[in-house]
């Protein structure tokens, strides 16, 4: 189980990664020497060709040209693994197309849903933590692991509306899913902070209960506060508290955590600036011993 805030944690090295959505060669050039992983989201490097969604040939060529010093991890946002009426086949087609062309270290998705009866919610919602939901998720996670024969990770998401509850705590639900399926976790420590800020969510209790040895990847990011809500918009540089939380998780993951990925959305690049992003990656390398 996890260490508490007051206990001494054992620092461990963790590689640094960063999100990349293509078409910014100058930014990529500055980031590559500082990262071991590039996290790519297939939906955001896609284009509509003849009414069909396909990966951008230009961006795929860019990714294929990367040397052996950086590994690609594939991170979906629209699988909608928790939809009652099934997941998104269009996402899986993109993932298939990507993995047919480029080797990836692992594949991941969010523990949530973005569609209901084929209708887009426009946002990602968290799932009720029930046995019914756990059965559905376990079957789908097993199917994905069989399909790609790669490590598959599930990420904790922000609760944008009040928690739907259920028979499990958040940590117990993730533990049950990883135990049933053998999948790994992405722990987004900024998402934990958002939940603690916006809802009665206890980070310490969560960290005490989660099986951190299932955490292979961490996400760090930062957004803005609006109307009293801390928003998961990936538009800022990380706060020290977010990095410290990630350090605690890495220490308790006992060597299983392999990457900390700094997430920012391309819409934020102009505001942040290339230099600040480069400095942030340097800072994260220092913090995580990358």
């Amino acid at each position: 189980m996890m260490s508490t805030a007051t206990q001494q944690t054992q620092p461990r090295r963790c590689a640094v990664g960063v999100t990349y959505e293509g078409r910014d060669a100058r930014l990529l050039e500055r980031m590559l020497p500082l990262v071991e992983y590039l996290e790519v989201t297939p939906e955001t490097i896609s284009e509509v060709h003849g009414g069909e969604l396909r990966l951008s040939p230009d961006i795929m060529a860019e990714l294929k040209s990367l040397g052996p010093d950086v590994q690609i991890v594939l991170h979906g946002v629209s699988l909608s693994i928790g939809s009652h009426d099934g997941w998104s086949d269009s996402y899986l087609r993109l993932a298939d197309e990507f993995m047919d062309q480029i080797d990836v270290a692992w594949h991941s998705e969010h523990l949530g849903y973005t569609k209901v009866d084929g209708q887009h919610l426009g946002i990602m919602l968290a799932l009720p933590k029930t046995d019914e939901m756990l059965d559905i998720l376990s079957e789908r996670v097993n199917a994905i692991q069989a399909r790609y024969r790669l490590p598959f990770l599930i990420e904790n998401i922000v609760h944008v509306i009040p928690d739907a509850g259920g028979t499990y705590s958040d940590a117990a639900f993730l533990n049950a899913l990883t135990q049933r399926t053998g999948c790994g976790l992405i722990l987004d420590t900024y998402n934990l902070e958002c939940d603690a800020h916006n809802h009665p969510f206890d980070i310490e209790a969560f960290l005490a209960e989660i099986d951190a040895t299932r955490v292979r990847e961490l996400h760090v990011a930062c957004g803005v506060e609006h109307n009293g809500f801390l928003l998961d918009v990936h538009s800022k540089l990380t706060r020290p508290s977010t990095v410290q939380l990630a350090q605690r998780v890495i220490a308790d993951a006992l060597g299983h955590a392999q990457a900390v990925v700094f997430e920012f959305m391309p819409e934020a690049v102009d505001g942040l600036g290339h230099e600040a992003i480069e400095s942030e990656l340097q800072r994260l390398n220092t913090a995580f011993g990358g």
């Binding site: 060709h49 009426d85 209901v116 209708q119 509306i161 959305m265």
Partner: protein
């Protein structure tokens, strides 16, 4: 409440088409009355705005300058079942604007949609008819400066195709009509 009803109810709350007073589930009542729901709706709207500002900048700025952006995006969200992610949103938004009753909006959106298609590898020739001088208007929109007032009238058409330098040709008058 079963999972399907739970998820359909939340979809209805986000789209403002569910009468929560008719629901028996206390959770749905709690969400309906929460400030979180209002903030989530605002986030859905703002995310669309962020994406369109970046992926359809010419039409975005035209609507913004005319004070029509918020209403157009709200209508787009309410009437089109489009993924919030970047890949499909701009083409769908531009297709909707391409059918606008407003001549200038229609021309700018058709032109910008053509640019997107050609950039994505489309080999066709895409023509947009203009009732205004396009070069001045496109320069203003691309530079994010106010449109000239009054707008310069004139009959033009733009042709977007991979066959032209810069993928673009601006021609005075109607496009030629080919018979047979």
């Amino acid at each position: 409440m079963d999972l399907a009803t739970h998820q359909r109810s939340l979809l209805g709350l986000l789209r403002s088409n569910l009468d929560s007073s008719a629901c028996t589930d206390p959770y749905i009542h709690r969400v309906a009355q929460s400030p979180d729901l209002q903030e989530a709706k605002r986030n859905i709207f703002l995310w669309r705005i962020y994406v369109l500002e970046r992926t359809a900048p010419l039409t975005f700025r035209l609507l913004e300058q005319r004070g029509q952006l918020a209403a157009r995006v709200a209508h787009f969200i309410a009437t089109r079942n489009i993924s919030p992610f970047r890949e499909t949103q701009a083409p769908a938004f531009l297709e909707a604007s391409s059918e606008s009753a407003d001549s200038l909006e229609r021309s700018v959106a058709r032109f910008e949609l053509a640019l997107l298609k050609v950039k994505a590898g489309d080999q066709g020739r895409h023509i947009a008819i203009w009732e205004f001088e396009p070069q001045v208007i496109l320069h203003s929109l691309a530079s994010a400066i106010p449109l000239p007032d009054p707008l310069p009238l004139g009959l033009y058409h733009t042709v977007v195709s991979r066959g032209f330098a810069g993928n673009l040709q601006i021609v005075s008058g109607h496009p030629p009509v080919f018979n047979g």
